[in-house]
Structure formats: C-alpha cells, structure tokens
C-alpha cells in the first residue's frame, strides 16, 4: 500500500540518468561498469540520489505519510506455529515442523521378518542410518492408497517419506513414515485452530489436537506427543 502511495506522488528526476542510458538499466556500455559492476556502487548514482533527496517534498506526500503513520500497525500474529501439511489417503493432516527432520523421496523399505505388518512397516536407510519405518496409515486407520485408486492426478510420484524426531531423555525417538503427498510448510495462528469435535468420526481424530481450514480443505493437526506415544505403544505392544 505504501508503495502505491509513493508512486502517486513520485517526483520526476531531471538528472543525467546515465544508468538508464548506458548503465545496468540501459545498454551497459558505460566504461565505469568494469570497475563498479552495478550502478548502485557508482558515485554518480549516489550523487544523483543525494540531489534527489535534496528537493522539497512533493505536494500531498507528507499528508499521505501522515495518514499512513496514523494507522496503528497491525500487531503481527505472534501465536503462529508452522506446520507441515501432508496427505494420507483422503485425509489432510499436519504435524508441527518442530518435530520434522526431513522429507525425502521414497526408498526401499526393508521388511523385518515376523515383525513387519501393522504399524511397524520395516526399516529404511536414511543417510546411512537405519531408521524404523512406521505406517501412519495403520496408526490412524486409513487404508493404504493403491496406485489405481484415489485421485488420478496424484500419482505415486507425490509420495514422500517424512522423518520425524522427538527429543527424549535416553535416546531420540526417531521415526520414518510414508505419506501420499506433501503440501509444504504453512503457518497457522491459534485463531485458525478449531477444537476437534468430540463426536468425530474423522480418522485420526484421536491423534489430532485441532482442526484448521487450509485452502478449501480441513486439515487435522496431529498432536505430536500422541503420535509418538501411539507409535511406541503399538510397536512395543
């Protein structure tokens, strides 16, 4: 908004304006460019800027500014959390980025004899370290998406692995799980969060701490503590 107002009261500069003719905004034929690389480093431009600011304020400029300054600044929302939004099956979910370590492409999952299946999917190699891979589909109770079903435009190419970690006293609690699509990191304010209805039939309702609207969808914000505890209980049990 401020920029627009500046434009409305901009002053024309009756200056050599060499930067528009032979400088970076012109044909770049100025010999000084060899030394200065860009016009902003050149003393001619600095001198022109100084003369520009040595003129009086154009009519209406100060009144525009007074009007701008009279408006209280909207306090920037300080209660924002950044969350990673991703999709599992038909559900859009989010996890606080604080627990996120990385998002990587799918890689080979090594199943563990007699242990895999259910929540524990197997182990994967993440940067040379073997990590336990869990099935969030199973934990939350969403059917695995077959490549044929679901939204045809979202092929398996959108699938990613999320590496998440919770700092724990003895050893860090690190898990890898596959998601069908990652929609990036978004900021949500406390005001956007709505409580999960107690009558929820929503998958993952048990693990969600809140719901928020994102684009035209409703995203369930997972409670990271409940997810980690859930994974740990299901694997150990």
């Amino acid at each position: 908004m401020i920029d627009q107002r500046h434009e409305s009261t901009a002053v024309e500069a009756p200056m050599p304006e060499c930067w528009r003719r032979i400088g970076v905004a012109g044909d770049r034929s100025c010999p000084e460019l060899e030394a200065f690389i860009h016009c902003r480093n050149c003393p001619v431009l600095a001198a022109a800027a100084r003369t520009f600011f040595d003129r009086g304020a154009p009519a209406g400029y100060l009144d525009d500014w007074r009007a701008i300054l009279e408006e209280p600044t909207a306090a920037p929302a300080t209660d924002t959390t950044s969350v990673l939004v991703f999709r599992i099956g038909g559900e859009w979910l989010a996890l606080p980025t604080a627990v996120l370590v990385e998002v990587t492409p799918l890689r080979t999952l090594h199943r563990l004899p007699h242990r895999s299946g259910g929540v524990l999917a197997g182990i994967v190699n993440i940067r040379g370290q073997l990590q336990l891979s869990a099935s969030l589909h199973d934990l939350i109770g969403i059917a695995e998406e077959s490549s044929a079903g679901g939204d045809a435009t979202l092929g398996p190419a959108t699938a990613r692995l999320l590496v998440v970690e919770r700092a724990a006293a003895e050893a860090a609690d690190r898990w890898v799980f596959g998601v069908d699509e990652v929609a990036g990191v978004h900021r949500v304010t406390k005001g956007m969060l709505r409580a999960v209805p107690s009558t929820v039939g929503h998958a993952g309702g048990r693990l969600s701490s809140a719901l928020f609207a994102w684009q035209d969808r409703t995203v369930a914000l997972l409670d990271e503590a409940r997810v980690f505890d859930g994974l740990r209980d299901r694997i150990a049990g």
Binding site: A49, Y61, W65, L69
Partner: protein
C-alpha cells in the same frame, strides 16, 4: 557499532543505529504550547503519540530546510529515572547514510559540556568529522519528566 548520520548546519552528527526504530519523512506535528522551541510537538506514530524534537533547534539555532532528506528519526528513548522506554522523534537533515564507528581513524572522547550534555564522542570517519548524539540526554530532566509522565504514555493513544 553502526551510526546513523545526519547533518545540522552542514556539520555531521550521528546517533547509534541500534537506538533507531524507523526513519520517516518529515511528517507534520501538532505543536505543544509553552514548550522550548526545539520541541516541535507530537505526531501520531503507528497509533501512539510521540514527541518530536527538532535537532536543528536543539543543537544550534538552525532552521532545518524542508527537503526530502530532512526526516524524522524515531528513536528508542530511555527517560531519566526508572520510567519505561519510550519513543522520541528527532528531526534532522540529510538522514541518508550509516557508517561503522569501527572505521574511525581517530576519535575524541565524549565532551563534558554542561550546556550540551547530549554531545558525545567525535569521530573522524572517511574524511568526515562526526559527533555522536546521546538520545537519552537530549531533553533536560524536567522536560523529559513532563513529556514522558510516569504513567504510561501509551494511555494517550
């Protein structure tokens, strides 16, 4: 330490840039009657009223020219006593550049002038002689107490 430089009557002065909140165009202020001439008045700054001090009148009897480069420096101001920090607008000319105090070739320690306690160190930087102005000591104690009453000035907004 970075210094925001400005000029008064052709001489360079500076204030510490960490005290600078914002540099604004020379916005009109509402005068306060019966205050010293260097108090231009108060202006509305982002929803609160901030006193505006004319550094030209404060540092000398200089009338500042109305140019685009004559601007208002909104600075953090710590009133004397244990009052909460406040904001103070300072009008100065040529508020254009910032210099690093570390580049000073030579300097003179802060002067102790009873008439001008706000005048600080004098530095020689890049061929310019720059004198540092201490924002907190710009206003005499009684005037500061009057402009920044113990009760929060924010109530005025």
């Amino acid at each position: 330490m970075q210094l925001l430089t400005f000029t008064i009557a052709g001489e360079s002065y500076a204030i510490e840039s960490r005290r600078v909140v914002e540099v604004l165009p020379l916005v009109p202020a509402r005068p306060i009657p019966l205050t010293p001439g260097y108090v231009r008045g108060v202006f509305t700054y982002r929803g609160s009223l901030v006193p505006l001090v004319d550094l030209g009148r404060r540092l000398g009897d200089v009338v500042l020219e109305e140019r685009l480069s004559t601007r208002v420096i909104v600075a953090e101001y710590l009133p004397p006593g244990s009052r909460p920090p406040a904001r103070l607008g300072l009008v100065a000319e040529n508020v254009i550049s910032i210099v690093a105090a570390e580049r000073a070739e030579t300097s003179l320690p802060a002067l102790e002038l009873a008439a001008a306690p706000f005048l600080g160190r004098i530095l020689r930087i890049d061929g310019r002689t720059v004198q540092v102005v201490d924002v907190d000591r710009l206003l005499p104690a009684d005037l500061a107490a009057g402009l920044f009453p113990a009760a929060s000035t924010e109530a005025a907004s």
